[in-house]
């Protein structure tokens, strides 16, 4: 499942196709055009910072910028390290040990992805403080209530708990596909288990871990909902503060531009760090080495997995459900959810469909006609993916209002923004599918006289079905959860579930927020389970 993984900087050559056909010009034009919507607002933001005389911070003191860099970097590093350790540990325990129910554990460890970080933050608020669920339990036992979870540690815990699944998701297939011969050789030469792990397993895991760290790091950089609700000051929160606290969009644009540049640097650094390593080896001939856990180790392993699942999945859902039920029984008002659900689901579904369709030509170009130039195109796609949604949203807003007012605050603009932001997810899924299929069937079809479009339609697409579905599922999930760009770009009166949860929880209407959050999580769980979690442990 490499759906979520950015590719290596330079794609390893396709072993099954020694000759490479030059890409037809129409394909190039098509792929380039599909990339364009993402590039326009980003180019605009970067231009806002670097244009001559454009270094206008709108009165933001330089010291403040340094402070923001510091607080954002601190959170990013802490969350990235925590999630990589957590995700690697859960992946190892579910693939390389003889613990029972590995597949079930793995599903439970993947499902926290359906909990958007702002819903997690909402649960944190509902757990802590004098009125919180956990505090009530504690005071019931005669203990002190918990203070309200806020600030750095709260943001760190929330972002770690609701992001480590990315690392898990990427590390599981990597661990399963490693050739056991290497580990056996190391053990045979007398290396300890631990040394084998450090010198043989970990290096092979590095590309997957780095991809996971990149995803988590970039997400932390761009998170808006959780840091806002938990009141930890980062770059994105400062952008929003500037946007709402000034009668001028310039300072917010400036900060967005700076953040975009930071994100691009992070992507570049990750590509350098990963080097030329290919993501996964080919399917191993035998089952991987399994460690038998006995006695306290076994108990501790179950305890660890149980704690992680409890903290990341059970506790937040329980808290949100408790607030919903308590509020409903008190007769608190709940806004209509059905309309929001319909709007969220339909706009996300349309976005997913268009994104998957757009991903096919890009994937065909980058896989079947791979060259240095297509590599650059791929990097561009990943760079746009890495950008903070709040900044992208602001870019789209300003570009639309100034240059294409007809689509401003329309569903169309919202969908264009989703497609631009999530195209790489679908592209990556399609690429994985194409690489697994290999070009031989297509070549056979061509040699039998079927044209390129006919071959695409009758051979390539049917073979890609599953990969495209998985990609579409991920895009759907991402669009359902997306908050900051939706807040800025939605048509007036077009409330989605995410917007509903957000506006209710920032006013602390817990009942209302909780009901909407539960619906959002339940709907998001379906594609995630069907398309990702269920297949994770099949080969």
């Amino acid at each position: 499942m490499t759906t979520l993984a950015p590719p290596a900087a330079e794609t390893a050559p396709e072993p099954s196709s020694p000759r490479r056909r030059r890409a037809p010009l129409p394909l190039w034009l098509l792929a380039g055009a599909l990339m364009l919507p993402a590039l326009i607002p980003i180019a605009y933001l970067v231009w806002a910072v670097v244009r001559p005389g454009g270094f206008d911070a709108g009165g933001i003191p330089a010291g403040r910028l340094v402070e923001l860099f510091g607080s954002t970097a601190r959170l990013m590093v802490a969350v990235t390290l925590t999630t990589s350790i957590l995700g690697a540990a859960t992946a190892w325990l579910t693939t390389r040990t003889d613990l029972k129910g590995a597949r079930l554990w793995s599903t439970l460890l993947t499902l926290p992805l359906v909990i958007p970080s702002y819903v997690g933050a909402l649960a944190f608020l509902g757990l802590s403080g004098n009125d919180g669920l956990l505090s009530r339990a504690l005071t019931g036992m005669g203990l002190q209530p918990l203070p309200v979870f806020s600030g750095f540690w709260a943001a760190w815990a929330a972002l770690s708990l609701w992001n480590f699944s990315y690392v898990h998701l990427l590390a599981v297939p990597a661990l399963r596909r490693m050739d056991p011969a290497l580990e056996e050789a190391a053990r045979g030469l007398g290396a300890s288990r631990w040394r084998t792990f450090l010198t043989v397993v970990l290096p092979q895991l590095r590309p997957a871990l780095l991809s996971g760290m990149l995803l988590v790091g970039l997400y932390t950089l761009s998170d808006f909902g959780a840091v806002s609700l938990l009141r930890y000051e980062t770059f994105t929160r400062a952008i929003y503060t500037q946007f709402r606290g000034r009668l001028d969009v310039t300072p917010a644009l400036f900060l967005s531009g700076v953040l975009v540049i930071v994100a691009l640097v992070v992507v570049w650094a990750e590509q350098r760090a990963r080097g030329r390593a290919a993501l996964y080896a080919h399917r191993p001939p035998r089952r991987p080495v399994v460690t038998a856990l006995r006695g306290w180790r076994r108990a501790a392993a179950y305890g660890f997995l149980g704690t992680v699942v409890a903290a990341a999945l059970v506790l937040p859902l329980l808290t949100v459900a408790w607030w919903a039920i308590r509020g409903l029984s008190l007769g608190n008002p709940v806004g209509a959810v059905a309309g929001d659900l319909l709007r969220s689901a339909s706009v996300s579904a349309v976005a997913a469909l268009i994104t998957v369709t757009a991903a096919v030509p890009v994937a065909v170009l980058t896989v079947r006609h791979a060259s240095r130039a297509t590599g650059a195109l791929e990097s561009v796609a990943w760079s746009t993916y890495s950008l903070p949604h709040l900044a992208v949203g602001l870019g789209f807003l300003v570009v639309a209002v100034r240059f294409i007012p007809a689509i401003y605050q329309s569903v169309l603009l919202l969908i264009v923004a989703y497609v631009a932001m999530f195209l790489p997810q679908a592209m990556s899924a399609a690429q994985t599918g194409l690489r697994q299929v290999g070009p031989s069937l297509e070549e056979a079809s061509r040699s039998l006289g079927v044209g390129p479009m006919g071959t695409l339609w009758r051979v390539t697409l049917p073979l890609l079905g599953r990969s495209l579905l998985a990609g579409g599922g991920i895009v759907f999930l991402s669009a359902m959860k997306e908050l900051p760009a939706t807040l800025l770009l939605r048509p007036t009166g077009f409330e989605t579930l995410a917007v509903h949860v957000w506006s209710a929880s920032s006013e602390l209407f817990y009942t209302d927020a909780s009901v909407a959050a539960l619906v959002l999580v339940a709907i998001s769980a379906v594609p995630l389970y069907l398309l990702v979690a269920r297949d994770l442990h099949r080969t």
Partner: protein, 348 residues
């Protein structure tokens, strides 16, 4: 082949959802009769810095009575003001209803608002409308010091706004420095005390390491729950909580007359200069000042501005309410310095 069928099925489902989505978009928010279209055939657009519970019932009643459909975009006052400035002439908004006089005054000063009809302006006392008639107050609210009665003994209550910078309040206070009402309070303080004194006060507050919130409601909730000792907010949040929850261990403390901490502010509404439906827009503002709407706001504990409607239960009448005596129109002039000072103090 099974895979292809599955894919096609999903695409069909998605397409069906998409069709549903398109119909929902075009549907008006309130499912009232479809006779209600405006002259140009489109709905009136209201940008509301006031929250949905407060506004939507009145808007629905307006649509039911006049047949004019209204689409409402809910967000923070500052967000909407910035959005309007970014949109310029292309703004879809017809009416803007802010939660404070400073941001809407700022828009008026920059020429984004048109002059209101005289009959609308004359509905409220002069001090609660723009001197040049570009916005009119709908309701008024007072800035107060809300405190938890179990955590803050009465003798500890600050006599004036300066006392809140005393180190004894370190870590005990909640503020929402980027919220429109706090910003408006700072604009008032600058008018009354000058920039230097205001800077001192903001730096004093920042030195006390207050808990920073985005809005007033969460501060009051934290004070009621005892998670926070006190906060600087508007008067009505606590009254709403008491109405919902009954007795709570929290109270509003009013500063004395003439103290910058006790500014009584109007929530202003105005019509955008770029609106192509100024008639209907004026109609909406007239409706916000109707007896029916004003009573709705009174029920939510804000001060109605139309005379003779009444006073929120248990509160002093508007005329006797302690306030800083400044012109609300002038707060627009101190908006820029206020925002700059708040930023420089590290509070935004």
């Amino acid at each position: 082949m099974r895979r292809t069928t599955a894919l096609l099925a999903v695409i069909a489902i998605l397409a069906a959802c998409g069709a549903n989505g398109t119909t929902t978009t075009t549907e008006a928010p309130a499912d009232t009769t479809d006779s209600g279209t405006t002259a140009s055939g489109e709905a009136l657009t209201l940008y509301s810095g006031r929250n949905e519970n407060f506004v939507q019932p009145v808007v629905d009643a307006f649509t039911a009575e006049t047949g004019i459909e209204v689409e409402v975009r809910y967000a923070g006052t500052g967000e909407l003001a910035t959005t309007i400035m970014t949109e310029g002439d292309a703004s879809p908004a017809d009416v803007f209803w802010a939660q404070d006089p400073a941001f809407i005054g700022g828009l008026a000063k920059e020429g984004y608002l048109t002059e209101l009809p005289e009959d609308v302006l004359s509905l409220v006392p002069e001090r609660f409308a723009d001197a040049d008639g570009r916005w009119v107050g709908i309701t008024a609210r007072a800035r107060v010091f809300v405190y938890n009665t179990e955590l803050v003994p009465e003798e500890e209550l600050p006599a004036d706004i300066w006392e809140v910078t005393d180190p004894k309040w370190k870590g005990r206070l909640g503020v929402a420095p980027t919220n429109g009402s706090f910003v408006a309070f700072v604009t008032g303080m600058i008018l009354a005390e000058g920039e230097e004194r205001t800077r001192e006060w903001l730096e004093g507050i920042a030195a006390n390491e207050p808990q920073i919130f985005d809005g007033n409601g969460p501060i009051v909730d934290a004070v009621v729950a005892g998670d926070l000792d006190a906060g600087l907010v508007n008067h009505y949040y606590l009254l709403q909580r008491i109405a919902e929850l009954g007795e709570v261990p929290a109270a509003n403390h009013f500063f004395s007359d003439g103290d910058p901490g006790g500014l009584v502010m109007a929530t202003g509404a105005g019509i955008l200069a770029s609106s192509d439906k100024p008639e209907e827009a004026a109609e909406l503002i007239r409706y916000l000042l109707s007896e029916e709407s004003q009573n709705h706001f009174l029920g939510l504990f804000e001060y109605p501005l139309v005379e003779g409607i009444g006073t929120p239960e248990g509160q002093l009448p508007l005329d006797e309410l302690p306030t800083l005596d400044i012109s609300l129109t002038d707060t627009a002039d101190t908006l820029d310095p206020a925002l700059a000072l708040i930023a420089e103090a590290g509070l935004s």
